[in-house]
């Protein structure tokens, strides 16, 4: 299909739709065509490491061609609908309805309406049951697939876990034959990690993971976007999973066990990625990069190797000590962007409840070191609405920010310091110890946001907070059941798109959609009975529900659980994957 040029001339950032990037794959005569769909705009989707991994993983197969599609921005959607142009892939501009598979990555709940919209723009019925043998098979994976129920009426099969694993997506393609979707879904329904809502008769779906990160498929290149992506740099995944056990963090639990990549493998990968992308920056990615066992030598090796080539390193600064600061001084622009801490809660009591292993002393010492080194800007991330939270915890956020300013002045800082306090709203997520908790209401979130606003008096503290109403809808969908999908379909019919973009999000529309579907948002955001099964209980992440219950009890007691690297808490992931203690090295 050729995209008429007039259309591209009439929309914002037309390069979102042209493809042709460096390292994009060209392939002819592949029997199976797979469209990897990211249900957000190009610049967001192209920043996603998972897309890069699966794109090259699938394209390794001679018989399969993986192409990409992103959610067209609203201006482009308008033009496409008016002129009857179906959603097309970037590589060959082929309409998506002609593909064998359409695979969505579900990165956040508020992109669900974009999934439905992309199907509709492709001329494909949004409900699985309405599709026929001439339609592509619709699949989905990613973090939100761990609770597949809200999307289960729309998706033909879910893949739970890591697609590039040995038991991953290859097994699905190996069983594919064109023509009969029912037969195909029957054939794959019992494969590891596969959940076919229309054929599911009970039983547990166990996630699939890569066991050895050094042996796992790792792309030696990245598609280099033609317009600046949100994260536009070479991505080195240093480890997967996380041993910290922060009790609010879904990724931390569903990605267990923690698995590291060796420093040698990372160094080699950095070498080829830079050579093949031409990127001027390498980012070390993981859920908590400072915890990487060989963090210091790795950072040093990369800096030494690439400094002469003017390739910069970007480090998330979760842990600030003398060494990290020395490294960061060598990183371009680091001082300007400042240091980042995520204490998440304002008091030690609450930090213990959520098992956020960072103390006030550590934060203040880290800031002190940084200020002595010439830094003057500190960013702090917090959440409000956490379980057991009181107003004292909220006010503790202001106190901590004040104390950091105090440290700056005490150390004789000469410039004007800046402390930014960014506050998001807690969303209880499946497969965390807080999966049974009630979420704060919009009103309660607002009250707390204002309480904190009044408590912050110093002009050097910049306070920002997120729209809590988005977090409430996120929360309703995150712990949704099959019925919640009706609200998603309804709100999409009512015109909702790009709900994760505050300029497009409409709480009123969602409220109306829930009501018209005979549902109440509060039903989903409220506390859950711990004795009753949860809608996602048939999915197994390897972490036992018993462990999550025990973590919940410990949270109420304010007792912390140590990092997996220090001692095994017995979450079950190690045993579930017969990992032989692979998570204990982290």
């Amino acid at each position: 299909m050729e995209i008429p040029e007039k259309i591209l001339m009439s929309v914002e950032k037309p390069a979102r739709y042209i493809g042709g990037e460096v390292n994009a794959v060209e392939k002819r005569n592949a029997a199976i065509r797979f469209a990897f769909c990211f249900p957000d705009v190009y610049e967001v989707g192209m920043s996603h490491l998972g897309l890069q991994i699966l794109y090259y993983f699938i394209n390794q197969r001679a018989d399969t061609y993986c192409e990409r599609a992103f959610a067209p921005w609203r201006d482009m959607e308008g033009v496409m609908r008016r002129q009857g142009i179906p959603l097309f892939s970037l590589e060959t501009k082929e309409p998506l309805c002609n593909f064998d598979f359409i695979g969505f990555t579900l990165q956040y709940e508020l992109c669900y309406t974009n999934v439905l919209n992309m199907l509709d723009l492709s001329g494909i019925p949004i409900y699985s049951r309405a599709r026929t043998n001439r339609h592509p098979i619709i699949c989905a994976g990613g973090p939100c697939a761990y609770n597949p129920e809200p999307m289960a009426d729309f998706v033909d099969f879910f893949f739970i876990g890591e697609g590039e694993a040995e038991q991953g997506l290859d097994a699905v393609f190996d069983r594919y034959a064109k023509g009969n979707r029912r037969e195909f879904l029957e054939k794959i329904k019992d494969l590891p990690g596969i959940y076919v809502p229309s054929c599911h008769t009970g039983g547990t779906v166990k996630k699939v993971i890569v066991r050895d990160m050094d042996k796992a498929f790792t792309p030696d290149r990245q598609i280099v976007p033609v317009i600046e992506a949100v994260h536009d740099r070479a991505m080195l995944e240093v480890f997967r999973g996380c041993g910290r056990g922060c009790r609010f963090c879904q990724a931390g639990f569903v990605c267990r066990p923690a698995r590291e990549r060796s420093p040698d493998a990372l160094r080699n990968q950095a070498e080829t990625l830079i050579a093949r992308t031409g990127y001027e920056e390498i980012s070390l990615l993981s859920l908590s990069t400072g915890d990487y066992t060989g963090f210091q030598p790795l950072a040093q090796v990369l800096l030494d190797r690439f400094a002469g080539d003017n390739v910069n390193l970007s480090l998330p600064s979760t842990r600030v000590d003398a060494f990290t600061l020395r490294i960061m001084e060598k990183i371009q622009g680091a001082r300007k962007s400042g240091l980042t801490f995520a204490p998440e809660a304002g008091t030690q009591r609450l930090r213990d409840v959520i098992n956020k292993g960072i103390t006030e002393e550590e934060i203040l010492n880290g800031c002190g070191l940084a200020f002595e080194g010439g830094w003057s800007h500190v960013k702090l991330y917090f959440m409000i609405g956490l379980p057991t939270e009181t107003d004292e915890d909220i006010l503790g956020i202001a106190d901590l920010a004040e104390k950091i300013l105090g440290v700056y002045y005490k150390r004789g800082g000469k410039r004007q310091p800046n402390v930014s306090v960014s506050v998001s709203s807690f969303v209880p997520k499946p497969f965390t110890p807080f999966q049974w908790e009630a979420q704060n209401s919009c009103e309660e979130f607002s009250r707390k946001q204002q309480l904190l606003k009044r408590a912050i008096k110093n002009k050097r503290i910049k306070y920002t907070y997120h729209d809590s109403r988005m977090s409430v809808i996120e929360g309703a969908l995150a712990r949704g059941d099959r019925r919640a999908g009706q609200a998603v379909a309804r709100v999409w019919e009512l015109g909702a798109r790009f709900d994760s973009w505050s300029e497009f999000f409409s709480y009123e529309l969602w409220e109306r959609a829930f009501t018209e579907s005979g549902l109440a948002i509060e039903e989903y955001t409220g506390g859950r009975d711990i004795s009753r099964p949860l809608p996602w209980a048939f999915i197994s992440t390897g972490v036992s529900e018993e462990f999550l219950r025990s973590e919940r009890r410990l949270a109420y007691e304010g007792a912390v659980t140590r990092n997996c690297g220090e001692s095994c808490a017995g979450c079950g992931a190690d045993a579930a994957f017969d990992a032989g203690g692979i998570c204990r090295g982290v």
């Binding site: 040029e5 007039k6 992308t277």
Partner: protein
């Protein structure tokens, strides 16, 4: 010791929808992938010493784009073009390169004119309309800037128009800091109230030389 080169390159196909800043980034990354020994600025935010002569409006193709690149060591101009061509994204192509003479003006400062091909989808009486426009003493158009609209006479910025066939013409227009005319503005002036859309391709860019023009 600085080694300055001038690169002539083409921008063809869908890559014409990549804007100026993203194009610069794409060139910089091609430089890195092609292991071109580019020189970097000193100071806090180091960057490659590359400048594009003049931004090309979004949606226009070109076979006559120019950029100046400073290298840290000398290589042949042919090697520079080859290294880039091995690494360029689809649609971008190095056409030629030469080493700049000492004291030669940079491409942006030297630019005085640019030649375009304008391809109308439809145009009745193109030759007559061009004759009419060239005969006029003044050609007043509404020029839109970000803040305001104002009237301007574009006639002095039109150096030459040659009609190629019923729908195509070639125009030499003022370009650069001392006067600049976008071929879109010219096309609109020619089409007047008619909604005749056109496609554009920049053919060449020129600096002043004696009483005439010379390709950059």
């Amino acid at each position: 010791m600085a080694f300055k080169y001038r690169l002539k390159f083409a921008k063809l196909g869908l890559v014409k929808f990549v804007g100026h800043l993203d194009l610069l980034k794409a060139l910089e990354r091609a430089v890195m992938r092609g292991r071109v020994p580019v020189a970097f600025s000193h100071g806090f935010n180091r960057h490659q010493l590359i400048t594009i002569a003049q931004p090309l409006p979004l949606g226009m193709e070109s076979v006559g784009e120019y950029a100046d690149i400073e290298l840290a060591r000398q290589i042949t101009p042919e090697e520079l073009a080859e290294r880039l061509n091995a690494a360029m994204p689809s649609g971008l192509r190095a056409l030629a390169a030469r080493q700049l003479a000492p004291g030669e003006k940079n491409a942006a400062a030297a630019t005085a004119a640019a030649e375009y091909e304008i391809m109308f989808e439809d145009f009745s009486g193109l030759q007559e309309r061009v004759n009419e426009l060239l005969a006029a003493e003044q050609v007043i158009v509404q020029k839109k800037s970000k803040r305001q609209e104002r009237q301007a006479d574009i006639r002095p910025d039109i150096f030459k128009i040659e009609v190629l066939d019923a729908r195509r013409l070639r125009a030499l227009l003022a370009a650069g800091s001392s006067g600049n005319l976008s071929p879109r503005v010219l096309a609109e002036a020619l089409a007047r109230e008619n909604d005749w859309s056109a496609r554009y391709r920049r053919l060449e860019m020129f600096g002043k030389r004696g009483g005439g023009f010379e390709a950059l």
